[in-house]
Symmetry: C2
Subunit: 190 residues, 2 copies
DNA sequence: CGCGCGATTGAGTAATTTCAAATCTAGTGG
DNA sequence: CCACTAGATTTGAAATTACTCAATCGCGCG
C-alpha cells in the first residue's frame, strides 16, 4: 500500500471525503524517506511541520540536564509526531524526534494543515478528532504512570505494540516507562 | 463578570466572532450552580457533556481498586473538564468530576458542540485549538512526572495556581502529584 | 467541651537508583 | 570462518527514596 492510500484509509476512518478531496489533501503532504538515526526535529529547532508515519518507527523524546532521556512517544505507522508545543506556539523545540528504524513519513506544514482545515471543514473535524484521541491516550498513560507499577506498564506497552519487543532496544523501552534500564532488566531476570 | 462574558472573552482570545455568533454559542450552554462536594460525572455514568468552569474549582480523578485517588486535573476558571474518553467513545465513565468548592459552570453537550462546530467553522477551530492546548499541557505534566522529583512538581503546580495552596486540602495536592500525603507533608517539615 | 478531619511525625519496609563490572550479541574486516 | 569491537544487556551491592502503618497533633464547628 502506498502513502496516499495509507493516509486516505487513516482519514476515511473518521470522516467521509470524495476521492478529489483525498487527492487535494495528499497534495499538501511531502513524502520523506528516512534512515535509521536521522532526526526530523532537534532540540532548539524552529518547528513548522508535523509528520505522519507510513512505515518504520520514530521516537519523540526529551533530554534533561543530566543527559537522561525520556521518551514521550514511539510513533508507529498511522501515528503523528512533532513537538506540538513548539509547533503551536512558535517557540523553539524542547524535544527531539528521530528514527529508530528506517522510515517513510509524510510531512505536513502548519500552514498547509490550516489551509486544508479552512478549505474542507471535514478535515478540521478530522484533526480535532485526532488530537482528542491523542489527549485521551496521553491521559491514560499518565494514569497508568501514577497507578501501576513498571511491570504492568511494560505489559500494557507490549500488548499495544507487540512489535516493539524486538524492534527497539530495551533501554528505550525503559526511557518510555520512566525507569532505569537495570530495573527493567531485573523485571524479567529476577 | 457574568457567564456569557467570561465565555466570550475566553473564545475571543483565540478566534474572532461577531456578537451574534457569541450569543448563538452561549445559547447552547446550560449554566449550573453547584455546591461543594456535588458531582458532575461519576464513575460508571454515561457522559454526554463537558463543562466550562466560570467560578470555583473542580477536580477530575480516578479511583483504583484499593480506593486510592489520582487527580487528573484541578479545573479552575476558564478550564474545561469532563471524562473525555467516555464523552468521545460513548463508553461509561471511568473518572469522576466533582466540586472542591461551590462552583458556577457552563454545561455543553457533545451534540451542541458538534452543531456549533458545523455551523461556525471558527468554533471548530477554537475547539481544535483548545484540545491542542490541553494536549501540550498534559504532555508537559507527563514529562515533569518522569523528570522532576515531587518537590519541583509541587512548586510548579503552586506557581501555576497559587490559589490552590489554601483552596484545596494538601491530600488532594498529593493525589495530583502522585505521592502519599505523608511524603508531601515531609517536604516542608523536614 | 469534644468530635472529626486534616496534617504531621516516627519507625520499619519495600522498591528503585546509582555505580561498577561482567556478559552477551550483531556486524565488520581480515 | 574467526577475531574483534561497540553497543546493549545483565548482575551485584550499597545507598537513597518513598511507602505503609500507626500514633499524635491542631483546629474549627456544633
Amino acid at each position: 500500500m502506498n502513502g496516499a492510500d495509507i493516509l486516505q484509509a487513516h482519514i476515511a476512518k473518521m470522516v467521509a471525503l470524495t476521492p478529489e478531496q483525498h487527492a487535494a489533501i495528499f497534495d499538501r503532504f511531502t513524502p520523506l524517506s528516512l534512515k535509521k538515526g536521522q532526526s526530523l526535529i532537534h532540540e532548539g529547532d524552529r518547528v513548522d511541520s508535523e509528520y505522519f508515519v507510513l512505515e518504520g518507527c520514530l521516537k519523540s523524546y526529551f533530554v534533561n540536564d543530566e543527559a537522561k532521556m525520556f521518551i514521550l512517544q514511539f510513533a508507529m505507522p498511522t501515528w503523528w509526531a512533532s513537538d506540538y508545543q513548539a509547533l503551536y506556539s512558535g517557540q523553539r523545540a524542547t524535544i527531539t524526534v528521530d528514527c529508530i528504524t528506517n522510515a517513510e513519513v509524510l510531512k505536513l506544514s502548519n500552514a498547509d494543515r490550516e489551509a486544508l482545515c479552512a478549505a474542507i471543514p471535514a478535515v478540521a473535524h478530522f484533526f480535532r478528532w485526532r488530537t482528542n484521541r491523542g489527549y485521551v491516550a496521553l491521559q491514560k498513560r499518565l494514569l497508568s504512570f501514577m497507578n501501576n507499577d513498571v511491570k504492568i506498564r511494560y505489559e500494557e506497552l507490549l500488548q499495544q505494540y507487540p512489535e516493539l519487543y524486538n524492534l527497539v532496544p530495551k533501554q528505550l523501552i525503559a526511557a518510555y516507562l520512566g525507569v532505569s534500564r537495570e530495573t527493567l532488566s531485573r523485571l524479567y531476570h529476577p
